[in-house]
């Protein structure tokens, strides 16, 4: 047995134990990427660096054997900075989108590729769940959203964008037609009451997410009907009232209370709202901004002045979102703000100081090179975009929706939550552009295997797949070729990936720390 200290804790381990494993025994987690149980002495990623205090040197803990009298530190500024720099170097040579460009461009961040894939499989109700997850009013926006997602759709480099907007309208329509009226399960009731002033896109969205988080919501509006700008500014021929009614109806079913014909006066605000509710959200878009000071709100350059991260204003428990903070052209921006405000309000109600919801790290790269377009075309169909006669007012039939969604090129990563590179980049706040000096490599995709997909430019050269297929004597397996920066995990003798894997494909995909090898 060997005695050593890790982070000042004494520990005894059998001879041959690595520092990584020793630390694990006392509950200290060290990040690893190239390490995989059963494959020892495999340091390459250098994310598991720890410090030997005696020499002051950094060592990869996965391959560092514990030695008698060792004194190890697993985290200090130097270690963190080295790990971060290792991640940044790996990112500088990692070509891939964690989330697809469409999702990144969408203010509400709908998981568009996933929705598309479900539609393509004919699972329309599941697709609707995905749409509704991030977008409270997918039907309404299906009519009026200018669709920033479609502008960045990589399919535009082939022919035309996928009709994303019409697709979420399609699944929302189906939900109503089939009388599913899907609503997500609410969290435990909090017995907290929130007043929302205004029933436009921001207010409706905020209400939906607050309800979902378990709070009671009352929406106030000066008009006789709810919908705000959606109903009173947008022409009926662009957005039929039936669509507004339908999604407001759903919200009512979910538990929202509407108090219409109610003009918010200073008295009402101070006496009823402030006293009767635990929090207030100001979301009326067309408020006369010169009156703001009467309520004691601070007036900024564009409207009510808010904390940009949390939507709090200068009064405790009061939040503001939508056009009242700044006039925007896109309803989807207001919808996204309503959602973000609900997040802040929820923290406030739970007695936590509101903080902006963390947006997960995203690796991304720009426009596709022409060779890359061909790679992306491998995972889609050549069909042209289906243009409906009435444009956004029109409806896809099922077959059309399936075809249109199948045109999606699957730009998102297959391992968005299990990719260690993404997770650690997020944890260490890595800057993916820090070392972006060289020409980026060109994306390639290998689909021939029935179980796995191989995307070499996402690889971090940990060689686990080579070792696994070699050790378990698969047909041919991958080969690590060339050296230095040009090392590549390649398929020997110009074979196809189908021919080289027989048994270990799945294991390789699971071991792969990034999305380079993933299950189909």
């Amino acid at each position: 047995m060997i005695n050593l200290k890790i982070n000042n804790t004494s520990i005894q381990v059998p001879t041959g134990t690595s520092v990584l494993k020793a630390a694990e025994q006392i509950g200290i987690e060290i990040p690893t990427m190239c390490f995989y149980e059963g494959f020892t002495n495999h340091p390459s990623c250098m994310v598991c660096l720890v410090k030997d205090t005696k020499s002051g040197k950094l060592h990869p803990s996965c391959a560092l054997p514990a030695e008698e009298g060792m004194d190890i530190i697993t985290e200090d500024n130097e270690i963190i900075s080295a790990r971060k720099e290792a991640l940044e170097l790996l990112l500088s040579d990692h070509v891939g989108d964690c989330e697809a460009p469409c999702r990144q461009a969408c203010p509400a961040a709908i998981d568009i590729p996933k929705m598309n894939r479900l539609i393509a499989q004919g699972k329309f109700d599941e697709a609707f769940v995905i749409a509704k997850e991030e977008l409270a009013i997918p039907l309404i926006l299906g009519y009026i959203c200018p669709a920033p997602c479609e502008k960045v759709c990589r399919r535009t480099q082939v022919d035309e964008a996928v009709s994303i907007c019409s697709l979420h309208k399609f699944v929302a329509d189906i939900d109503i037609e089939q009388k599913n009226f899907y609503l997500p399960t609410k969290e435990k009731e909090s017995n907290k009451n929130v007043a929302i002033i205004g029933t436009g896109p921001a207010g409706l969205s905020c209400a939906f997410y607050l309800l979902r988080l378990g709070h009671n919501v009352v929406l106030f509006d000066k008009n006789t009907e709810a919908g705000g700008a959606l109903r009173y500014e947008i022409l009926n021929k662009e957005l039929p009232n039936s669509a507004i009614d339908s999604e407001i109806g759903t919200l009512q079913n979910y538990g929202a209370e509407f108090r219409l014909n109610t003009e918010i006066t200073k008295e009402l605000f101070e006496n009823e709202l402030k006293k009767g509710f635990d929090a207030i959200v100001i979301a009326m878009g067309d408020f006369d901004k010169s009156n703001l000071h009467k309520f004691g709100f601070e007036n900024g350059k564009y409207g009510i002045s808010i904390n940009k991260n949390t939507f709090e204003i200068n009064q405790d428990g009061v939040f503001a979102c939508g056009n009242i903070i700044r006039s925007r052209r896109m309803a989807v921006t207001s919808v996204a703000q309503g959602k973000a405000t609900a997040w802040s309000v929820n923290q406030y109600l739970n007695g936590i100081k509101p903080e902006k919801k963390h947006r997960m790290f995203n690796s991304k790269f720009g426009k596709l090179f022409s060779e890359e377009i061909e790679e992306y075309k491998k995972e889609t169909i050549p069909d042209k975009r289906i243009i409906l006669e009435n444009g956004k007012l029109g409806n896809f039939n099922n077959a059309q929706a399936i075809t249109e969604s199948t045109r999606c090129m699957r730009c998102d990563c297959r391992k968005p939550t299990t990719c260690k590179l993404r997770n650690y980049a997020d944890e260490y706040s890595a800057d993916r552009r820090k070392f972006a000096f060289g020409e980026r490599k060109k994306v390639k995709k290998h689909f021939q295997h029935k179980l796995i997909v191989y995307e070499p430019e996402k690889c971090i050269r940990c060689n686990l797949c080579v070792d696994i297929s070699t050790k378990e004597k698969d047909t041919l397996g991958f080969s690590s070729i060339r050296r230095g920066f040009d090392v590549e995990i390649s398929i020997p003798f110009n074979k196809s990936i189908k021919e080289i894997f027989n048994r270990t494909a799945e294991k390789c995909a699971n071991a792969c720390p990034t999305g380079a090898i993933s299950l189909k």
Binding site: N41, P43, S44, C45, M46, V47, L49, K57, L58, P60, A63, L64, P65, E78, S81, A82, E85, A86, L89, L90, S92, D93, K434, F435, F437, G438, I460, R461, V466, S469, T470, L476, G477, F478, S479, S480, I481, R482, R483, G484, F485, D486, V487, S490, P492, F493
Partner: protein
């Protein structure tokens, strides 16, 4: 093709570790690796395609595409780099009309390739076409070189010996050095001419072919020893001058020839008279000659009997005390006594790391195992270093003796020479020497009737700098890609095939016999407090007398540069020395008085490394030097660790950015931080020392980096930051216009010529051909 491959496999074996030798043999046969042949290897051996493909793409020696009839290797080692190797390379590409992605000309006659170092640093820049080496190549002269090569294609220089009739009284001895540099400088031709001349004159003189003399800057060099006369050196001889020299010293036995030579000699002299002669003659007794100044201050331990010993003459080696040390070890010393002697001598490994040799031996001895190995690391890969090559070529028996002693001391019965395939002469001489030793029972079973048995063979490295690292070297012998692994366990415990293995550098082995013969104290008396003995350096770059030197540790940089090396040529100012190659650093002239040892060098930001010492003058751009080494290490990185694989590439990109005038403020900080992280976060010596050239130039020459960021290269080296200009001194001779490869200079006889900068590719030819120095860099 299958038949050929089958024969190769029959000879090399079918096991995994035969992969590299098999590929080498296939390439020797076809000049590249045809895919069909690779397939065949996989079909009938244990080597999987994944492994074979991994190996064949790892080592630079292997080619996957058919090549031209002749291969042009442009050396881009450090010494060649500072003397304009890239311009030579570009000029050759232009001459062969190669497009960007091509390396073989349209006639399939020549394939061009860059090589890390041919080890002929003293005659830089160097180009090798097949087996012919050309030194001092100028970009404007590349077409002549190709023509000359094609003209002499049927007449290759050989190493055949002229044999004096046995048992006859000789009138004297002529010694000629035949190291690789000497051969590259024309020594083979001189030797052929010498033998022809001696035969024609019937002169009874022994021509003795000796190893590297070290004075590489003065070669071809002849030493004439005549009974009862002062020996004379002749330096920089040309083949056509040999006859005259012979005639001066030795009278012809053949009257007729004597008459003839007298007459033709007279005519020759008459014709030659008035033409400046390059040959210089020096008496060995004077101490103010370039030769004696060069040799003064040197101590010959690794290079004992330099310029005298015939490399593959075992009889002579024995006569001079060879194998006495071995005999002493086998008969008088216990194993512990040998190891104690080495420990007491204070010898540190000469490969760069500087670990105590005695301790290493002790570790291997103390590890219990039936089988142990010793390996001589001759995978010298530093650009700008050629010590190991010279030692292997010149003193094969001494190194073998050192190796046998070490094997006896640690209890190993198998040994291996790992030598770069780029050193064919070294491989040949070691193989010959092993053969002689086996014949004389110095190798094999029951050596000298001592009961100790030891076998050894040669493994040819396939071109990977990283294989100089001991764990990578072992991986490569085992038939793998040369990837280092985590230490511990050290090879002393778990080495080749999992057995305890002693890996020492060539130079380390070469001093062992001397230490045993002369005692530990004799060695430890030389050197400094913490570093004992001598060190062999390859002195090259901007220096009057480059060459191979063995000096006592503790000598100052200034003594090496000014006394031994004779200072900087052309009256330029001494700026810095680059010591230790890609792992080392640049030490500025202001620190030239520090005594060189393992500690002082690392304190100064450099490293002993394996001993490359490249002198830089005022014209050398330090950012460019840092970039040069980074380009080398990033190309040679095995690609395992993130910091080395990606980090060195990113550092190189930052340096490229800075050198091309696109640097921004902040770049230097990112570079420096990344350099420190790479030092800390790399597994092996290559990665952890790769940032040294960057860090040391940042430490001493940061102002040059800053000037680049401002868009100026103070030395005019970075082509994207300079312009060529012709000034009033121009006499209108049109030479620049004639030689300009891009017609950027128009013909204007007797007028001031003008460089059109839009067309100029900055090849420097105009500046080199201008007779009145009217072409300047701005």
């Amino acid at each position: 093709m299958n038949k050929i491959v089958d024969n190769i496999i029959a000879e090399k074996g079918t096991s995994v570790d035969a992969a590299i030798p098999i590929l080498q043999a296939i390439q020797a046969e076809f000049n590249y690796l045809p895919e069909e042949a690779m397939q065949r290897v996989c079909d009938i051996t244990e080597i999987s395609p994944a492994r074979l493909y991994g190996i064949s793409t790892f080592y630079t020696q292997f080619r996957h595409k058919a090549v031209g009839k002749h291969i042009i290797k442009v050396c881009v080692g450090t010494a060649c780099h500072v003397k304009g190797a890239m311009r030579v390379y570009d000029a050759l590409r232009r001459e062969l009309n190669l497009k960007d992605d091509e390396d073989t000309d349209s006639d399939d006659l020549f394939t061009i390739d860059k090589v890390a170092c041919l080890g002929c640093c003293t005659i830089a820049p160097v180009v090798q076409i097949d087996n012919t080496t050309f030194g001092h190549v100028e970009p404007g002269k590349v077409s002549e070189i190709l023509e000359e090569f094609l003209a002499s294609d049927d007449n290759p220089a050989g190493e055949n010996s002229y044999i004096v009739e046995q048992n006859k009284h000789t009138d004297g001895e002529i010694r000629i050095g035949l190291g690789s540099c000497c051969i590259a400088s024309g020594s083979s031709d001189v030797k052929l001419e010498l033998e022809k001349s001696l035969k024609a004159n019937k002169t009874n003189v022994e021509v003795k072919q000796v190893g590297c003399v070290g004075i590489c800057n003065q070669v071809p060099l002849l030493e004439i020893h005549k009974h009862g006369e002062t020996p004379y050196f002749y330096t920089k001889i040309k083949a056509d001058e040999v006859n005259e020299i012979i005639r001066k010293h030795f009278k012809s036995k053949n009257l007729l020839t004597r008459l003839k030579t007298d007459i033709s000699g007279f005519i020759n002299n008459y014709v030659i008279n008035g033409i400046p002669r390059s040959v210089m003659k020096y008496s060995s007794e004077r101490d103010d000659t370039p030769v004696s100044e060069f040799l003064n201050g040197q101590i010959n331990i690794a290079t004992e009997h330099r310029g005298f010993l015939k490399p593959n003459d075992i009889v002579e080696y024995k006569k001079l005390g060879g194998f006495e040390a071995l005999k002493k070890c086998l008969t008088q010393f216990s194993r512990d006594e040998i190891i104690d002697t080495i420990k007491e001598s204070g010898l540190k490994g000469r490969g760069g790391g500087g670990f105590y040799t005695g301790l290493k031996w002790q570790l291997v001895k103390d590890t219990k195992s039936e089988i142990k190995y010793v390996i001589c690391n001759g995978d010298e890969g530093d650009p700008g270093a050629f010590m190991d090559r010279m030692l292997l070529e010149s003193y094969p028996f001494r190194i073998i003796e050192g190796l046998i002693i070490s094997a006896y001391a640690v209890g190993a019965n198998k040994g291996l020479f790992y030598i770069r395939a780029e050193y064919p002469l070294a491989v040949k001489r070691i193989k010959e020497a092993i053969y002689y030793c086996e014949k004389e029972n110095l190798l094999g079973d029951n050596i000298m009737d001592s009961g100790f048995s030891f076998d050894m063979k040669v493994f040819e490295g396939a071109g990977a700098f990283i294989c100089g690292e001991e764990t990578a070297l072992i991986a490569s012998v085992e038939g793998n890609r040369g990837l280092p692994r985590m230490r511990p366990p050290y090879p002393a415990e778990v080495g080749l095939w999992g057995k305890p293995t002693l890996v020492n550098n060539t130079e380390t082995f070469s001093v062992i016999p001397w230490i045993i013969r002369n005692g530990a104290a004799a060695f430890s008396n030389i050197g400094t407090e913490n570093s004992k003995g001598t060190k062999v350096f390859a002195l090259a770059g901007k220096i009057n007398r480059g060459g191979l030197i063995e000096v006592p540790i503790g000598i100052t940089i200034r003594s090496i540069v000014e006394e031994i090396g004779g200072g900087i040529p052309n009256g330029k100012a001494f700026k810095a020395v680059q010591i230790g190659g890609p792992s080392g650093g640049c030490i500025p002239a202001s620190l030239a008085d520090i005594p060189i040892d393992f500690n002082t060098l690392s304190e100064a930001g450099a490293m002993m490394g394996s001993g490359g010492l490249v002198v830089l003058d005022e014209d050398d751009c330090m950012v460019d030097i840092a970039r040069y080494f980074l380009a080398f290490t990033q190309d040679q990185s095995c690609g395992k660790c993130t910091f080395c694989r990606v980090g060195t590439r990113r550092m190189l990109e930052i340096l490229n950015k800075i050198c091309s005038g696109k640097g921004q403020s902040g770049d230097i900080e990112i570079l420096e931080k990344l350099a420190h992280s790479t030092k800390k976060g790399s597994l092996c010596g290559l990665g952890s020392t790769a940032p040294n050239p960057v860090l040391s130039t940042l430490r001493y020459f940061k102002h040059e980096y800053l000037e680049h960021i401002e868009g100026k290269c103070p030395t005019g080296k970075c082509v994207e930051l300079i312009e060529y200009l012709i000034v009033e001194e121009c006499i209108g001779c049109t030479l620049c216009a004639q030689d300009c490869p891009t017609d950027a200079i128009a013909f204007k006889p007797y007028e001031l010529h003008i460089v059109e900068n839009e067309l100029c590719i900055k090849c420097d030819i105009c500046r080199q051909v201008c007779p009145v120095n009217a072409v300047i860099i701005k």
